[in-house]
């Protein structure tokens, strides 16, 4: 008993400072979160406004943000980095310049394709991503540029004994300030009323005699300006670099989807939520639980996607999202499927036979290219299976390709399975991934579904990227060589060709079989499908798994053809490649994705060998194709041949 008082005396002095330190830590992390939320909100608000009015999901929005960072860097240098005017003049100038770039994009590209299918608009904005990335590379170089600190705000303030940068206080204020100004603009001006009206029903606004093109252009200016501003204010905090476009666009997508498409207030809430979650993950750091170290810092890469997955499952339209008004007149009705006729099969067999003869030419490099084309044809065909017949657009299809790569590689290296069995592990791993992810995804539709697929892909990517001990982390895995009988290039080529051709033919048959018809039925009219006894969600789920299985097989073949793999195999850019292939070939045709994969892979290969700026050339080529042939390559050919067929068949094609 006598020992108690002294024990208590020990206890309190050590306990209170610890609580105080913890509290200070929490407050500082909270402030950090607020500062991070501002930029995120600016970008997401711009994306949301543009989507609301034009119904275009602007993939290039992250690129506009990146331009904001670079332009702010240059303009501040130009105006003088030491003066307050120089800094804020540079920031504002950059935002206005990006706004004007947005206007140019709207007038030159997007305005021409408002009536095109939604997916074509996506393709056009992908192309813009490629062009803008290479423009930034040309003007600012590949090195990261560390920006100046804000003149007059270089110090720090003391909060609960901790130092907090002055500039971050300004950032914290910018978010609510812009939210307030946007609210005034949208609710207290005639222009804002028109924007809100167009968000609900743009045809009706047009029918009431409002000049739509002027409205759309000004909306693009505002959206791009906000993206540019979001980037420019970050210049003292993060260096300008070329990867910003993709990382920011996926962040912005997450914020917009969590908040609800088209809701500015929702975007603000979501930005706060996500920035806080990230800040706290960094703040908590590594925690020891029962001897195991749990790294919350690593969790930052995934946390926003976890939040998004949870929000979308609980509230499928986001926190403050409302059901979007139906769009009239824009949807084109897909023509019925042509039966796979005898001449078609003869052509397919002929093509495969011709490809099988290629090794006779003795050109080893050609075989490498053809293996890539075969693998990506399967990848594109599976993505098309989802996007076309199933009506589920995936922004994260690389996940299943990558899971296939890693499934095969890990089975070979860790389980020491022979290569043939390891290859079987590829579709198994990707199929399992699709089984789990798909279960959530089929509960949503449209843009929300696409975003959730992206979220799952990013989660898979981060897990593989960070799990050094098991997946090799950012270095990837090496030493993936095929069995003895496939060591020879020709043998491996023929093996790949056979498997890929069989996979594609199987997928084609599935599309024409009752299973493919069920998926199309669910896409065309879920109401009618339900009324004839079809459980649409269940079949969509099966379709998702099927696509995942074959994408994984392609990934497995890819791994053994390269001998090494890295997290790149399931990065966002790989998913984007797949989308470009499918859209390039034409989503309404069965052979299109294969043609798209071939053209894309060949273009990428041949241009990349000759110039550093292959992305820009590819992007410009895509823009030309989109503006000239909005039905894709195969769709264009089909239309061209239809001109020579009988009137009755023409009716079917249209």
């Amino acid at each position: 008993m006598a020992a108690r008082p002294s024990g208590r005396g020990h206890f309190f002095p050590s306990f209170f400072p610890r609580v105080a330190a913890l509290l200070a830590n929490i407050v500082i992390q909270f402030m950090n979160g607020l500062a991070g939320a501002s930029s995120l909100f600016l970008v997401a608000a711009g994306l949301s406004i543009i989507f609301g009015v034009s119904r275009i999901v602007n993939f290039a929005h992250g690129s506009l943000y990146m331009l904001g960072v670079y332009l702010a860097y240059s303009l501040i240098e130009f105006f003088g980095r030491s003066s307050i005017f120089g800094f804020w003049g540079g920031v504002l100038g950059a935002a206005i310049a990006v706004g004007l770039i947005g206007v140019v994009i709207e007038v030159l590209v997007l305005r021409r394709i408002y009536r095109a299918p939604e997916l074509f608009q996506l393709l056009a904005t992908f192309a813009l991503v490629l062009v803008i990335k290479d423009a930034a590379l040309y003007f600012w170089g590949a090195e990261d540029l560390v920006g100046p600190r804000a003149a007059g705000l270089r110090g720090a303030v003391e909060i609960m004994g901790k130092r907090f940068p002055q500039y971050d206080l300004v950032l914290i204020a910018i978010g609510p300030l812009v939210l307030g100004l946007l609210w005034l603009l949208l609710n207290r001006t005639r222009w804002g009323t028109l924007v809100r009206a167009a968000t609900q029903d743009r045809e009706m606004v047009g029918a009431l005699g409002v000049n739509q093109s002027g409205l759309f252009t000004s909306v693009f200016f505002l959206g791009a300006f906000l993206a540019g501003l979001g980037g420019a204010v970050q210049i003292p905090r993060e260096p300008a670099q070329l990867m910003l476009d993709i990382t920011v666009i996926s962040d912005a997508f997450v914020v917009v989807v969590v908040g609800g498409m088209g809701s500015i207030g929702g975007a603000f809430l979501a930005a706060l939520l996500i920035a806080q979650a990230k800040a706290f993950c960094i703040g908590i750091g590594d925690v020891s639980i029962f001897g195991a170290t749990l790294s919350f810092t690593k969790f930052t890469l995934v946390v926003e996607f976890v939040i998004m997955a949870i929000v979308l499952v609980v509230r499928p339209l986001g926190l403050l999202g409302k059901l979007q008004g139906a769009q009239r007149g824009a949807a084109t009705v897909e023509p019925p499927l042509y039966p796979l006729t005898r001449p078609f099969w003869i052509a397919v067999v002929g093509l495969v036979a011709l490809l099988a003869l290629m090794p006779l030419g003795g050109d080893d490099y050609l075989l490498v290219l053809l293996i890539d084309i075969a693998v990506f044809s399967v990848f594109a065909a599976t993505l098309h299976f989802l996007m076309g017949p199933s009506g589920m657009v995936s922004f994260g299809h690389a996940a299943y390709f990558g899971l296939g790569c890693y499934g095969a590689a890990l089975a070979l290296l860790k389980l020491k399975l022979p290569m043939e069995l390891a290859l079987l592990a590829a579709p198994l791993a990707s199929g399992l991934g699709a089984l789990v992810f798909g279960w959530f995804c089929v509960r949503l539709s449209g843009v929300y579904l696409a975003m959730l697929t992206l979220a799952f892909a990013q989660i898979s990517w981060s897990v593989i990227y960070q799990w050094d001990a098991f997946t090799g982390g950012s270095n990837g895995l090496v030493g993936l060589w095929p069995s003895e009988w496939l060591k020879d290039r020709t043998a491996f080529y023929l093996f790949t060709l056979a498997l890929c051709a069989a996979s594609i033919i199987f997928l084609w048959r599935v599309v024409h079989a009752p299973f493919g018809y069920v998926l199309r039925a669910g896409r065309d009219s879920a109401l009618r499908a339900d009324a004839i006894g079809i459980d649409v969600r269940r079949f969509q789920w099966y379709g998702f798994i099927l696509a995942g299985v074959f994408a994984g097989l392609a990934g497995g073949l890819f791994a053994f053809s390269k001998g090494s793999i890295s997290p790149e195999t399931l990065a966002v850019s790989r998913s984007v490649d797949g989308l470009v292939m499918v859209l390039l070939g034409g989503v309404q045709t069965l052979t299109g994705p294969v043609a798209g994969a071939a053209v894309f892979t060949w273009l990428q290969d041949s241009i990349a060998r000759n110039t550093e700026y292959w992305r820009a050339i590819l992007g410009l080529a895509i823009l030309v194709i989109v503006l000239a042939f909005p039905q894709g390559i195969a769709g264009f050919l089909k239309q061209a041949t239809a001109r020579f067929t009988s009137a009755r068949e023409r009716e079917v094609v249209r």
């Binding site: 019925p336 199987f506 009752p514 065309d524 006894g533 079809i534």
Partner: protein
């Protein structure tokens, strides 16, 4: 023989009693029209029968089997065909493929990955199209069909599962007057041939009085009349609901 039996059906949304104590039956081969002014509760009533809404209380049975709590697709499997107020068909498929789709589902042939769907149940589909007079348009895509033709396609789809009961929500909405009578003539003929019970809602009184064997009238969620077309026509309460009655205004002192 009673096919559909509805007893004590109740549904309220918040404080609004949308449907109160509705009772009726439909016999095999009989066309029963459910009519009433806008907001009378027709659609609510209908959606409780086809599984889209769950009633607060009440009993709905199909040939003695309860339909409560079943999803639309399960109700279809028990032999209930449906057509919609705004047609719902698979627009990227031909007319014949639309029917084949329903037949494939009926014969549990959906989980098939190899044989072309186009060749399955082809003759059966053509026979159904022949019955609704759409055989000559079987190869046209549904997406380009005239509205009246789409209605016929829907009817053929609804017949694909050899239904005991047809639920038709405003089957002639959006059609030209002559087409309306023709479509309901056809429906009546098919129903009598196959002994199918038909329940339909309708705004066009010409169609209702020309085709219905019996009529039930809903107003403010309650059934106010039931009987043959002549009986319903002569019912003063129905006349008051549809034409207005001087008594109401007189009572309010105007």
């Amino acid at each position: 023989m009673t096919v559909l039996s509805v007893k004590g059906l109740h549904k309220s949304f918040g404080g609004v009693q949308a449907v109160q104590d509705v009772n009726f039956q439909v016999a095999a081969g009989e066309l029963l029209a459910l009519i009433g002014p806008n907001g009378a509760g027709k659609s609510t009533c209908f959606n409780m029968l086809n599984g889209q809404l769950r009633p607060d209380t009440g009993v709905v049975t199909l040939l003695g089997r309860s339909l409560l709590g079943l999803a639309p697709r399960q109700i279809w499997r028990l032999g209930v065909g449906r057509t919609f107020q705004i047609t719902a068909t698979f627009n990227s498929m031909t007319v014949r493929e639309n029917i084949q789709m329903a037949l494939l589902s009926f014969h549990n042939g959906l989980m098939s990955f190899w044989r072309p769907a186009n060749a399955l149940y082809r003759d059966e589909a053509m026979a159904l199209l022949d019955r609704v007079g759409m055989a000559d348009q079987s190869e046209r895509p549904c997406g380009i069909l005239a509205y009246g033709d789409l209605k016929r396609v829907e009817l053929a789809i609804a017949l694909a599962n050899q239904p005991k009961l047809l639920l038709m929500d405003e089957p002639t909405a959006g059609m030209a007057p002559t087409e309306r009578i023709a479509l309901m003539d056809l429906t009546a003929k098919l129903a009598r041939q196959d002994d199918i019970a038909v329940l339909f809602t309708e705004h066009d009184m010409d169609v209702v009085f020309a085709q219905a064997d019996r009529i039930i009238v809903l107003n403010r969620g309650r059934l106010i009349a039931e009987g043959s077309p002549d009986e319903v026509r002569a019912n003063p309460e129905v006349q008051a609901v549809y034409l207005g009655s001087g008594a109401v205004f007189a009572g309010e002192g105007h």
